[in-house]
């Protein structure tokens, strides 16, 4: 804040920065995680953070449908797909 303005912490700015940072970090985690189920956790975090961003844009309905469809259905279907195609429960011991 230049020119002697009073420094105020803007809550909206703070929340926006937090949400966008968590969206980006979880999106990076999706491609960086070693375990594929961890990627799915990152994906769910990313979806929820995007839903919260929609709420900040006062599009509540889109946010709710985002959670209902993406976290409630798409992520679970992805998890089903991952788990049903593995022969062992976990493969992390092999590394």
């Amino acid at each position: 804040m230049a020119g002697g303005e009073e420094v105020t912490l803007d809550w909206e700015m703070f929340v926006f920065l937090f949400l966008s940072a968590s969206t980006l970090l979880s999106a990076i985690y999706v491609i960086r995680a070693r375990e594929i189920v961890h990627s799915v956790v990152g994906l769910a975090t990313c979806f929820i953070a995007i839903a919260a961003l929609y709420i900040m844009l006062s599009a509540e309905f889109v946010a709710i449908v985002q959670i209902l469809v993406y976290v409630g259905a798409v992520v679970v279907v992805i998890l089903f797909g991952i788990m049903l195609t593995r022969r062992e429960i976990m493969e992390s011991e092999k590394r």
Partner: protein
């Protein structure tokens, strides 16, 4: 006066009190300290900070009410099971109040047990799954108002969570993800099978559930709890949408995994289902949260079908709401202790072949009622 105004008053008073002390402290210190103290004090008294603190206080109130209710519900569960099976139920701990303190004793026992993480478990998933499950379940409660004046408001004007009923169902829908994660991360075949069953069951029963709720939204013309309950001022939606109410109860029983549909925790087949590897207070919190979900289900059934807080003005609105929610929960328990568990194939058959067509018929009835202009 609604809950938001009440909490805002408390927070305003507290901030004033603390700021008096704070500014006094700033005055007696050197000037450069004083400026800093002034900045912090002004921030504490700002509108945004007070609103956030008010919402925190509201959430605390809602959660405490939920926890007390859950203690009651677990007590009802045990007493009712005892009466159905011809024994007394909890009796010795607090025998003057019907053994109500047994829950607290069990809670303390679980609380002091050792917390174990299995050696071959996936640490991240094992620790994250309870957080997601409990967090999303308590999020449901934040959306459900007990009356027009008692609910978590979103802003100064006192309006409630927009599209609250839909938001509650969206929070319900997060749970299969955490359950599947818990089942996988425990690295045990029973937990994995339990998690798979649970996710399959929740996903398949969510569709008829949402379709019956869609018929309620259609008749009420709104997604918000207050509008839905006001639309039931003349007649409860349980009467014109009788099929829908029954479907809603059955789907809710499947969503909260109580006995006719407790395949994910079938004690005779899977040891304890997807919670097998969780011990101590983690298991306690899972148990607690499952009861919170039953309570939220009862509250949803009350708000969407049983007229919410409407009733003779003899009793306050909030108490009416709780009475109805308790009755729905007791009906759940009645169902639990009188029906045998369904098989996996029967469970999916009931969901897709019976409930889904009935939900479509229910939606058609709702459309017919709406187009006749009766609602």
């Amino acid at each position: 006066m609604n809950l938001f105004e009440f909490c805002y008053g408390i927070i305003h008073w507290l901030v004033d009190l603390i700021n008096h002390l704070w500014y006094w402290l700033g005055d007696v210190l050197p000037w450069w300290f004083g400026d800093f103290f002034d900045a912090v004090g002004n921030f504490a008294a700002s509108q945004g900070h007070m609103a956030v603190m008010t919402i925190f206080l509201e959430v605390v109130i809602v959660v405490v009410i939920a926890l007390i209710n859950v203690l009651n519900f677990i007590w009802i569960f045990r007493k009712f099971m005892g009466r159905m099976f011809d024994f007394y139920g909890p009796y010795y701990v607090g025998y003057r109040i019907g053994g109500w303190l047994q829950n607290l004793a069990d809670g303390i026992k679980l609380f002091v047990k050792e917390i174990i993480v299995p050696a071959k478990a996936d640490k991240m998933g094992y620790l994250l799954a309870p957080i997601i499950y409990i967090g999303s379940s308590i999020l449901i409660l934040a959306t459900i108002p007990f009356s027009e004046n008692f609910g978590v408001a979103t802003n100064e004007s006192g309006s409630y969570v927009p599209a609250g009923a839909l938001f509650a169902l969206a929070a319900f829908a997060i749970a299969p993800f955490s359950i599947l994660l818990a089942g996988w991360a425990s690295n045990n075949k029973y937990t994995l099978i339990g998690g798979m069953r649970s996710a399959a069951q929740m996903m398949s029963y969510e569709i008829p559930l949402l379709m019956t709720v869609a018929s309620v939204f259609l008749l009420a013309g709104s997604y918000g709890f207050v509008d839905i309950v006001d639309a039931q001022h003349d007649i409860w939606f349980a009467f014109p949408l009788f099929i829908g109410f029954l479907i809603f109860l059955v789907c809710l029983a499947a969503e909260v995994e109580i006995i006719p549909f407790d395949l994910p925790e079938a004690e005779a087949e899977l040891v304890e289902g997807w919670t097998t590897e969780y011990g101590g207070m983690r298991f306690g919190l899972f148990y607690f949260t499952t009861t919170i979900r039953s309570y939220a289900g009862g509250a949803l059934a009350t708000a969407l079908f049983l007229g919410g807080w409407h009733g003779p003005a003899l009793i306050p609105d909030e108490i009416w709401f709780l009475i109805k929610a308790y009755i729905v929960y007791t009906i759940f328990q009645w169902m639990t202790w009188s029906l045998p568990r369904v098989r996996v194939d029967q469970m999916l058959g009931i969901g897709w072949k019976r409930l889904l067509p009935l939900a479509v018929i229910n939606l058609m009835i709702a459309v017919a009622l709406k187009s006749m202009g009766w609602f």
